[in-house]
Amino acid sequence: MTGVAIAFWVLAAVAVLCSLLVITSRNPVASVLYLVVTFFCLAGLFVTLHSHFLAAVQVIVYAGAIMVLFLFVVMLLNLGTPQWFDVATTPLKAVALMLGIGFVGALAAAGVGDFEPSATGPAAGVDPDVLGSTEAIATALYSAYYLPFLVTALLLLVAMVGAVVLARRER
C-alpha cells in the first residue's frame, strides 16, 4: 500500500468512528471534541486530495472558529451533563437506522464505489498540486466567482447582526 492509501484508510476510519461517537455520546462536551477530531480527519483527507488550501481553511474555520462557538454555547448553557430527554424512542431510532442503511445501500447499488468520472473540466490534466493551490483558488474566487464572494461577505454581516439581536437579553 502506498502512503496515500494508508493515510486514507486511517483518516477514513477515525472520521467514521468519531462521527459515530458524536451522535451517540451522551455528553455534549464529548460530542464537540469528537467533532473536532472528525474535522481534523477531513482536513487530512483534503490533503490526500492535494487540496492544501482547503485543508488549512477547514482547520482554521471549522476546527478553530465554529467548534469554539459550539463549545462556548455548551459551556454557557451549562449542558455539560447528559440531558434526561436526549434519547430518541426506539421506533424512531430503528426508522432512522433503516433509512440510513437504505441510503448507503441505494448509493452502493448505483455503483458509487466504482465511479470514475472523466476528466473533462476546464482544468483537466493540470497537476493536482497546482489545481488545489492557494493561487489557483484565489484567482478563481476574485475573477469568475467575485459576485458570490461579495454576497458571502453580506451574508456573514447579516448573520453577525442576527446573532447579536437574537442572543441579546430583552429589556
Binding site: 492509501a5 477514513a12 472520521a15 462521527s19 459515530l20 458524536v22 451522535i23 455534549p28 460530542s31 464537540v32 467533532l35 472528525t38 477531513l42 483527507l45 486530495l49 492535494h50 487540496s51 488550501f53 482547503l54 477547514q58 474555520v61 471549522y62 465554529i66 459550539f70 454555547v73 455548551v74 448553557l77 449542558l79 440531558q83 430527554f85 436526549d86 431510532k93 426508522v95 432512522a96 437506522l97 433509512l99 440510513g100 441510503f103 448507503v104 448509493l107 466504482d114 470514475e116 468520472p117 476528466a119 473540466g121 476546464p122 482544468a123 493536482p128 489545481l131 483558488i137 478563481a140 458570490p148 458571502t152 456573514l156 448573520a159 442576527g162 446573532a163 437574537l166 442572543a167 437579553r169
Partner: protein
C-alpha cells in the same frame, strides 16, 4: 484495494452524510442536532473536493469555501436561537419547542 480512487472518497462521503442524517433524526439535544448537520455539510464538502480534483474544475473547490462560510453563518445564527430558546424555556430539547407546530 491498495489503489484509492474517487469511489472510495464518495463512499466515505455517503457514510458520513448518513451518520449525520441519523444523528439529526435520533438526537433531541438541539446542539447535538446542529453538530450532526455540520457532519452532513462536511460530507458534502468532501464530495465537492473529490469531484473538483477528479474532473479538473476549480468551481468545486470555490464552492467548498462558500459552504464553509454559510456553515459559519448558520452556526452563529442557530446557536443564538438556541441561547434565546434556552432563556425562554430552560431546556434545549427540540421537542419542547412546539410554538410553531401547526
Amino acid at each position: 484495494m491498495s489503489e484509492i480512487g474517487v469511489g472510495h472518497y464518495l463512499t466515505l462521503s455517503a457514510i458520513l452524510f448518513t451518520i449525520g442524517a441519523i444523528g439529526v433524526l435520533t438526537r433531541k439535544n438541539a446542539i447535538i442536532v446542529f453538530m450532526a448537520i455540520e457532519i452532513m455539510l462536511n460530507a458534502a464538502n468532501l464530495a465537492f473536493v473529490t469531484f473538483a480534483m477528479s474532473i479538473g474544475d476549480l468551481g468545486g473547490l470555490v464552492m467548498v469555501l462558500f459552504v464553509i462560510a454559510v456553515a459559519a453563518a448558520e452556526a452563529a445564527v442557530g446557536l443564538a436561537i438556541i441561547v434565546a430558546m434556552y432563556r425562554h424555556r430552560e431546556t434545549v430539547n427540540v421537542e419542547a419547542f412546539t410554538a410553531m407546530r401547526g
